[in-house]
């Protein structure tokens, strides 16, 4: 009964010192909201990447060029298809390119592959046509039926000004925001057009190879038999690149957050010290009327738990609303490069239990650090001193 009484007393104190409680909870939200949002976005992007890798080809083949990935002849796709266990082999042209001052990903695929695309407004690109991402469309003010000029190469330089050979493509479709983070800055065209942009007719940047289940190793061996200059990347390898990349990003974020967190503790100490003289007096009164130090600390501990259990779920809720309903306005750009204040795609986010548990733990650390020590100090001096 004693502990229940102390819990009720703590609830009473939290509601009685409304301003102090609200300030502490707001501080917790301010500290935890970016943390929960960042972890959710990182997990979301990671999951989407993992799905992309999972749904992608089983093997990616390029040619070795001075120890780096080089282009591969398109006709090698037919050769590769003959290897036992290969179901499809798709030559692709993928490159980063600046269009209208914006960095985009140019993606060229055979027409029959493009037909499988979804999340599209408008139609699939025919010859001379392109499908662009929502981010590109917004940035360059493009819509279906409009033309987009893409610089192919510099012809000459006159008075230090480069003369660029440009080709014009008609926008036949736009990816919808639901198509995901990768489609936002994408320019999709058929592989022939992509070849002409880079003036590399007959070549692809890689060939995506799809195999029957369990044939991956055998197909890899078959590829090596075709050419010893093939560079082979399996799905597992691609997935491990993605995971290690995100884990590194996550690690950097956690490291930065640890610093921010360490700064937040003294800030919260100051905040929870808000009304400290009144609190010190109250503790002095309780001690003078026979309360033990442990009983005072237990009550303060319960107060910390109540504040933490209010602050952490509230932070989680704010973060969820912010990402799901406001699509991570402003905050998403802190974690996904180059997307601006208003993301042009649905920001991927996953709210997992672990960050939630972690945020409760962090809240507890913050509230306890802010209250237990000051309460202990007030409770261990003679009550007359605390009341002075």
């Amino acid at each position: 009964m004693k502990h229940v009484n102390l819990l009720y007393a703590a609830i009473g104190n939290v509601t009685r010192h409304k301003l102090r409680s609200v300030v502490v909870i707001l501080c917790l939200v301010a500290i935890l909201f970016p943390f929960i949002s960042a972890i959710a976005i990182l997990e979301g992007v990671k999951a989407q990447s993992s799905i992309s890798a999972g749904e992608g080809a089983d093997i990616y083949v390029t040619m070795d060029m001075y120890g780096r990935n080089g282009v591969i002849p398109v006709n090698m796709a037919e050769e590769i298809k003959k290897i036992e266990g290969v179901t499809r082999s798709v030559p692709r042209v993928i490159s980063r390119i600046y269009i209208g001052g914006k960095l985009a990903v140019l993606f060229g695929l055979p027409v029959e592959e493009i037909k499988q695309m979804s999340f599209l407004k408008g139609s699939l690109p025919e010859e001379g046509g392109i499908v662009i991402g929502k981010g590109m469309a917004d940035a360059l003010n493009l819509d279906i039926g409009k033309n987009l000029e893409i610089g192919v190469r510099i012809i000459s330089i006159v008075n230090r000004i480069p003369l660029v050979l440009r080709k014009e493509y008609r926008v036949s479709g736009i990816f919808t925001p639901e198509s995901g983070i990768w489609a936002s800055d994408l320019v999709l065209m058929n592989i022939t057009d992509a070849n002409s942009v880079f003036e590399m007719e007959g070549f692809a940047t890689d060939i995506a190879v799809y195999t029957k289940p369990g044939y991956e190793a055998a197909v890899s061996e078959g590829l090596q038999r075709i050419s010893k200059f093939f560079r082979i990347q399996t799905k597992g390898l691609v997935r491990s690149y993605i995971e290690s990349g995100f884990n590194m990003k996550g690690g950097v974020f956690v490291a930065l957050y640890t610093v921010a967190f360490a700064i937040a503790i003294p800030a919260l100490l100051v905040t929870s010290g808000f009304g400290l003289s009144e609190r010190r007096k109250e503790i002095g009164i309780l001690k003078a009327t026979g309360w033990q130090t442990t009983e005072v600390l237990e009550m303060v501990f319960f107060e910390g738990i109540i504040l933490a259990l209010t602050g952490a779920p509230l932070s989680f809720m704010v973060s969820y609303i912010w990402i799901k309903f406001f699509n991570g306005f402003f905050i998403a750009q802190l974690f996904i490069a180059g997307i601006g204040n208003i993301p042009s795609f649905t920001v991927p986010a996953r709210f997992l239990p672990l960050p939630f548990i972690l945020s409760i733990f962090l809240s507890l650390v913050l509230t306890m650090a802010g209250s237990i020590y000051s309460a202990w100090r007030a409770a261990t001096v003679p009550p007359a001193e605390a009341l002075r």
Binding site: N5, L286, K287, A288, T289, G290, W291, Q292, T293
Partner: protein, 251 residues
């Protein structure tokens, strides 16, 4: 103590060791102070001696008053006797128990079981109602909320505050706040009731009510120690000690 049975019970539950005890209270003496000093900032240029080698004994069931000008050490002395402050040197014995070297836990138990303290400025907890203030000492003792409310309300009624139990402490007059503070001091049924300058913050009518309450407490066998410089309040005391510059002038 009120009777020997209750004294035995309290002594048994207080868990204080009385072994190696040199100074013992006699049957009639409940409180003994021997050579008590209270020095602030000792051995520093701005040292303040609030109490100097003060010795005093108080009989069970008596009404003892301390008088003296401001700064004479009245509050310091009753704070030390009430176990809410510690002396620098000397000994304070409460019912054969030397409080000098007691731990924080033991002193808290002593305050809970033996002493009711009424502060000069009442020290009620703001934002709590009268009954909540009165019952605050019962919270860690495991009383249910209904029991606490019943006990507190009953005590407030006895002190003439029926109908004010649910009022916030800030809504009460000075005299009413003082009676709430007295009720809080009495809620644990202590043997010793200590009042620090109880007449300084209340009007004449309230002083009359207060003296009636003190008279009732005395009739119920409580030992009362009060500091005051109000002659009206001192009139009913059995013994009046005068303090001057931290010493008893009648020593």
């Amino acid at each position: 103590m009120n009777n020997s049975a209750s004294s035995q019970q309290k002594a048994g539950s207080s868990q204080f060791s009385t072994s190696n005890f040199e100074l013992r209270t006699s049957n009639s003496e409940l409180i003994i102070c021997e050579g008590v000093w209270k020095v602030y900032n000792e051995a520093k240029p701005y040292e303040v001696r609030a109490l100097e080698d003060l010795s005093l004994s108080i009989k069970k069931g008596s009404f003892t008053a301390l008088k003296g000008p401001s700064g004479s050490g009245k509050t310091t002395l009753i704070s030390i006797i009430g176990c809410i402050d510690r002396q620098t040197r000397g000994r304070v014995v409460l019912d054969n128990k030397d409080t000098t070297g007691l731990s924080d836990i033991a002193l808290s138990r002593l305050r809970r079981q033996w002493i009711g303290f009424v502060f000069q400025n009442f020290n009620l907890i703001s934002g709590l109602s009268a009954w909540e203030n009165v019952s605050a000492p019962l919270i860690p003792m495991g009383f249910s909320i209904d029991d606490r409310r019943r006990k507190a309300t009953s005590l407030l009624e006895r002190l003439g505050l029926s109908g004010r139990a649910n009022h916030m402490s800030e809504e009460l007059s000075g005299g009413e706040q003082q009676r709430v503070a007295i009720a809080r001091a009495l809620i644990n049924e202590p043997d010793i009731v200590i009042l620090d300058e109880p007449t300084s913050n209340i009007d004449v009518e309230s002083i009359a009510v207060l003296m009636g309450i003190i008279s009732d407490l005395k009739k119920n066998g409580k030992t009362i120690l009060m500091s005051s410089h109000d002659e009206l309040a001192l009139r009913d005391a059995d013994i009046v000690h005068e303090l001057k510059r931290g010493r008893l002038s009648d020593n």
